[in-house]
């Protein structure tokens, strides 16, 4: 199983918390960018069948219809598996009937909508602008056009936020009935407006309380908590993201995109001028067997199901228990084994770094 990630760095507005590779949308750059992207894909793609494709950003949906069609045509270079999961990230305000039809035509079958919140105070702090009504309307539109797999992103943990605010947000998200929900505790990264404005983080205790509340409310509505921050209805887990967490290979195309091919983890240049000049290379790191195994642990234990011990042995020719001191952690119930999977005790998932650093 192999995946492709394509990065579109353009945005109409810049969110105050975002530390991804992004820049203001400027039509004068877009075609040059897409041409260079096409060239990169032609150069590097080795022709194998892809299981998932994910176009993220930035805001891919901010492209004009023509630009979007050009982008989607590029994706036809890839040989797709029969049930290929094809996701495009969308901003609610960009969604139009025309764009959705275009996506549908080119095989996109999953939408990831960055809603983040409906709370006015939070939206202002985030530098975002939409309403619950518009969300209802746009999602209904997508459904009517045949999109049956929709993800909604949610951010929590602003210093102004109360538990009541959080519950209200969750309630509204649930009303939209998405197949998949990703929730993130706000990270105050350097080089973001929030960081520059010295916005305070919330206390870990409050953060944890919010997290537990989210898990509780979503489980009640039959969402499976399958990864630290991800919830899905049955059979709607993100196969693209699972590919990351299963430590498998993927291509990363586009400005600042990361990939993992032939034991090399790479990140493309973050410099647009260089990228347009087809100088794609940024950082590259060849992984040792130990690196690979450490990543397997760091990523695999994020899943509530955990790591398949049989697969681990096949992959590395060694039992996991020979490579990592899991016995004492099993003894004090930080780790568990069930049905051939090693996983973190669910009530320790939110402190899993403490467990990982005892292992790797």
């Amino acid at each position: 199983m192999k995946s492709v990630y394509i990065h579109i760095p353009f945005c109409k507005t810049i969110c105050s918390y975002c530390d991804f590779c992004k820049m203001f949308y400027n039509p004068k750059w877009v075609y040059d960018y897409l041409i260079s992207l096409k060239n990169e894909i032609t150069d590097r793609y080795m022709g194998e069948e892809m299981s998932t494709i994910y176009i993220g950003g930035g805001t891919p949906s901010c492209l004009s219809e023509k630009e979007l069609e050009y982008l989607l045509k590029i994706t036809q270079i890839f040989k797709k598996e029969k049930n290929c999961e094809f996701t495009v990230e969308c901003n609610l305000n960009d969604i139009t009937k025309e764009k959705l039809e275009l996506l549908k035509t080119y095989g996109v079958n999953r939408l990831s909508i960055g809603i983040e919140s409906f709370n006015e105070k939070k939206l202002i702090l985030m530098g975002r602008n939409h309403t619950f009504e518009s969300a209802k309307e746009k999602i209904a539109l997508a459904r009517s056009l045949g999109f049956t797999n929709i993800n909604i992103d949610l951010i929590y943990g602003f210093y102004t936020e109360t538990k009541k605010d959080l519950k209200e947000d969750i309630k509204k998200v649930l009303k939209l009935n998405p197949e998949h929900i990703s929730t993130y505790s706000l990270i105050l990264s350097e080089h973001t407006l929030l960081y520059v404005n010295k916005v305070k983080p919330i206390e870990d205790e409050v953060d944890r309380e919010f997290y537990d509340e989210i898990c509780h409310l979503l489980k009640k509505k039959k969402y499976q908590h399958y990864e630290v921050s991800n919830f899905a209805k049955k059979n709607y887990e993100s196969r693209h993201n699972l590919n990351y967490w299963n430590n498998r290979e993927y291509y990363g195309f586009g400005l600042g995109a990361s990939g993992y091919i032939d034991l090399i983890r790479y990140t493309n240049t973050l410099n647009l001028t260089k990228y347009l000049n087809q100088e794609y290379d940024g950082k590259k790191e060849l992984l040792t067997k130990e690196d690979q195994m450490d990543n397997e642990m760091m990523l695999g234990l994020r899943k509530t199901q955990g790591i398949n011990l049989q697969e681990f042995k096949q992959k590395y020719q060694k039992e996991l228990s020979e490579c990592y001191p899991i016995a004492p952690l099993m003894k004090n119930k930080e780790l568990k084994i069930k049905n051939g999977y090693l996983f973190i005790n669910p009530d320790k998932l939110y402190v899993m770094n403490e467990i990982l650093i005892k292992l790797i």
Partner: protein
Amino acid sequence: MIPQQNIRNFSIIAHIDHGKSTLADRILENTHAISKREMKEQILDSMDLERERGITIKLNAVSLKYTYEKKEYQLNLIDTPGHVDFSYEVSRSLAACEGAVLVVDASQGIEAQTLANLYLAMEQDLTIIPVINKIDLPNANIPKVKEELKRVLGFQEEEILLCSGKTGEGVKELIEKIITKINPPKIENEKPLRALIFDSYFDPYKGVVALIKVSEGNIKVGDSIRFMSNNADFIVTELGVHTPKEEKKEALRCGEVGYLCASIKEISNIHVGDTITHTKESATTPIHGYKQMKPMVYSGIFPIESNKYEALKEAFMKLKLNDAALFFEPETSEALGFGFRVGFLGLLHMDIIMSRLEREFNLEVIATSPSVVYEITLTNGEIIQIDSPTKMPPAVKIKEMKEPYIYTNIIVPKEYTGPIMELCQNKRGIYKSLEYIDETRVNIHYELPLSEIVYDFFDKLKSTTKGYASFDYEMIGYRESKLVKLDILLNGEVVDALSTIVHKDFAYARGRAITTKLKDLIPKQLFQIPIQACVGSKVIARENISALKKNVLAKCYGGDISRKRKLLEKQKEGKKKMKNIGSVEVPSDVFLAVLSE
């Protein structure tokens, strides 16, 4: 050859920062021992640490030549440290001298260690030359300092020299005064050899090098010698002096100061303060007047990584070469594993050893709360001494307990008299007297338990007087005290390394202070951790460290993986500085940090 009666052995003594080392440098320059070009600032302070702290730790003996009234003189300058903890080193070098230059800062006047050092010199019957130094300073107050020297120390106006180590003014006069005023060493050429070891160091090529003063007889290369304390015999392979460059000699005559090598590989064969004699025709008694100092403060020192035990042992053995007062023996702690019980002269001494372990030997260590030596009379009449709380017998077996007391010199501007008295009272001090140094400064005398000084007295003294206090003390013996052992329990288990002995009346306050401190210093972990302070089985203070609620890479996708792993590795690196005590991870600096309030 310079006649023996033209030898002058002298030291320079002073309070810290009164310019002793700079003055020594200037003397070296004036005697052409080193050229201006070679002149590194304060050449005698050879260790980095010494320069950084502005104090001299290790002794150095330099042999200088000077022509006065057409006669050539050999001046042996023996450098001394200037801090209270190192008065034993001062006494060592003073035992090798006939005179001492007492340096007082023209802007500061007499300070606590001026007095302490002077008393040590007077004990050795040395001729004292009082010098007011730093007279070039804009805030120098020569008349006032002169008055202090006359009034407090009883010097005559005409004895006092004025000097500037910085400009060199008065240095020539000082050198000549050393020649005219200080007696030559007693010349006893015919007597059997007696030479005093006043310092030693380890040279990777020569082995152990001893710095000696020949008091009687003389010594040559090839002589068979004996250390009188343990009757170990060696053949002298090399003799010489430092000028300050090394200069080999065939012999050292009576009265001279120099270094000696004798293929001594075992550091345990040499004891500073020991007397060297010849194997044949040996002296019958060792030199008197030498003061062997005992450690006053003991602490457990443990390697953070337990496989560094041997390296730590090696380091202590090497440090001991240059540091006769350092004492160590193996100790095992349930909490910290294998390490050493180490005896120090005081807290500064301890601090310096800790920094040297880290800097010169690259060892990361944990130190437990320093303890003084207690004297306990058991119910069966037996008297024992303990240097560690873990060695304290159960309360029912103790009939009486005694602790060491000190007598203080605390010199402060008089407006701080009130705060100082309050501080001393709070430390169980007994007021003795107060005297005026001049109209602005007083010398306050208290009797205080040494254990209270070890706790946080220095920090308090500094903060209450904005750094204006100078402090020195002498031991005055043992006194009975109501003392109890205060245990600290982490997650229900006694942490032996955190136990302390405290006065009964202070146990509650100390227990609360330590538990609060631990709560702040120990990071949250996966489970709740109770911290208790107990005397016997009685819990007197309690805190809780609540369980860690969040430590997760909240989102982690394709682009983040390398970066996220680096984050984890950084967290892991932080854990290496932690020690596992039972199931609790404790940062290594906690053990000392609980001391300061």
